[in-house]
Amino acid sequence: MQVNGEYKPTIVAFCCNWCSYAGADLSGTNRLTYPDNVKIIRIPCSCRLNPMFILRAFQRGADGVILCGCHPGDCHYTTGNYYARRRMTLLFSMLDFLGIERERTRVEWVSAAEGAKFAATMNEFTAQVAKLGENKRLEDLRCKK
């Protein structure tokens, strides 16, 4: 997306309800800043993330997608994030196999106490995606305004 002549990537951050979403909240209450083009979608657990959600985020205009969940071992449902970890590893590898830039996807574990880590991660990831420019390889032209 172009904002005042400057390119700003659209980032979709899927955050688990129990840790990362609270982490995002904490970063807000602590008045830490992270880019306003990060769109947070709350999910019950990182393992709720259907791979199709990621693909559809790209279809609908995301330039980067990040999944945040509880640290391994700390899952509210005990083991959800372990499954998510395997799934995302394979999915990202498949995207890479199809020639889609691997820097557009990431998984980061953020606890409810890590507001600073959340803000830092988003800043860093946004900068990383900004370098790549617009998502062209998984885009759906119909969804471009």
Binding site: P51, M52, L55, R56, F58, Q59, P72, G73, T79, Y82, Y83, R85, R86, R87, M88, T89, L90, L91, F92, S93, M94, L95, D96, F97, L98, G99, I100, E101, R102, E103, T105, R106, V107, R137, L138, E139, D140, L141, R142
Partner: protein, 324 residues
């Protein structure tokens, strides 16, 4: 080959089973159809086992094993892996199936033979290592090894993993199959080259869904792509995104359950090498979570339904491969 038919007759006549699942002869020897035979007369008339029995029969057992009476099925080594995987997923009622394992030295592909220039084939016969084709334009001979299905060229195993009875000698797994060579070749390319490769392949997709419908691991009652309420149902790929989306999700949904039976590529009318997507997942699983062969046994958990506490992080995808 006669032995297989004899066995089918015997099982029907001695009352072991009431039906036989096998392959029915066509008009040209190569055009076989999976079929259920209910009587000795039917078997004698139409039953056939030949180098064109590529079709994997195990998926039909989901339906057939739920019917009344016992059914005998002939499974080639690769089909037996699909069979075990389906059993593991509780999709087949084992008690209603009598499995006859058949040794296999590779199945042939008529499309490949046509690409080799054999046109107008009206009949094929085996002659040692060759296939002799009668065509509208005279006789043509093709070496059997040149006509093999893609999956047979890099056959992973000649071992029937589950059977009630074995015809011929059971074979061994083949660790030297080189089945990941093409995947590795693609991995070694730059992302731009890979993207171009897949754009070219996937753009030919006509969304006939043959790859999905033939797949023994795709056994959902209702596919998300057919469900009008899912929001992503589509009958044709309108944009390249929808092509990618369908094929990524198709492969992902069967990842760690896919036995690499190769049916998806066999049935693709557009010759898209779909098995490469599945093999990429298998290769990754083998490298990251330890060697795993879906359908090889009844006990192990598929890697995507399993985990260890010290699994690698997804960032490994970014780290390996370096600049590539």
């Amino acid at each position: 080959m006669q032995e297989v038919m004899k066995k089918a007759l015997e099982l029907l006549q001695n009352g072991t089973v009431s039906r036989i699942l096998g392959w029915k002869t066509g008009d040209f020897f190569y055009d076989l159809t999976p079929a259920v035979f209910e009587s000795a007369e039917e078997v004698e008339k139409d039953f056939v086992f030949s180098p064109f029995c590529g079709a994997n029969l195990s998926k039909y057992l989901i339906k057939e094993s739920r019917k009344e009476g016992k059914i005998a099925v002939f499974l080639k080594p690769c089909d037996s892996y699909s069979f075990v995987q389906l059993l593991k997923e509780h999709r087949i009622i084992r008690d209603n199936v009598y499995v006859v394992g058949v040794a296999c030295d590779g199945m042939c592909d008529i499309e490949k033979m046509k690409e080799l220039g054999v046109k107008g084939v009206t009949a094929v016969r085996e002659d040692g290592e060759n296939l002799v084709c009668e065509t509208l334009y005279g006789e043509k001979t093709v070496a059997r090894k040149d006509a093999l299905l893609e999956r047979c060229v890099s056959c992973k195993s000649k071992k029937v993993v589950m059977f009630d009875e074995m015809l011929g000698e059971n074979g061994e797994e083949n660790p030297e199959s080189h089945r990941f060579d093409k995947v590795a070749e693609l991995e070694a390319m730059t992302p731009d080259e890979r993207f171009a490769f897949w754009q070219n392949e996937l753009s030919r997709c006509i969304r006939c869904n043959a790859c999905r419908n033939v797949c023994p691991a795709c056994s959902c009652e209702k596919c998300v792509f057919d469900n009008a309420n899912s929001g992503i149902a589509n009958k044709a790929a309108v944009t390249s995104f929808e092509e990618q989306n369908f094929h990524i999700i198709r492969a992902f949904h069967v990842a760690s359950r896919c036995t690499d039976c190769g049916e998806c590529s066999r049935v693709c009318p557009q010759h898209i090498p779909l098995h490469l997507l599945n093999r990429k997942f298998i290769k990754d699983i083998n490298e990251l979570y330890g060697e795993y062969q879906a359908g090889a046994d009844m006990d192990t958990k598929p890697p995507l339904m399993n985990f260890t506490k010290d699994d690698c992080e997804p960032s490994i995808v970014h780290e390996r491969g370096g600049d590539k």
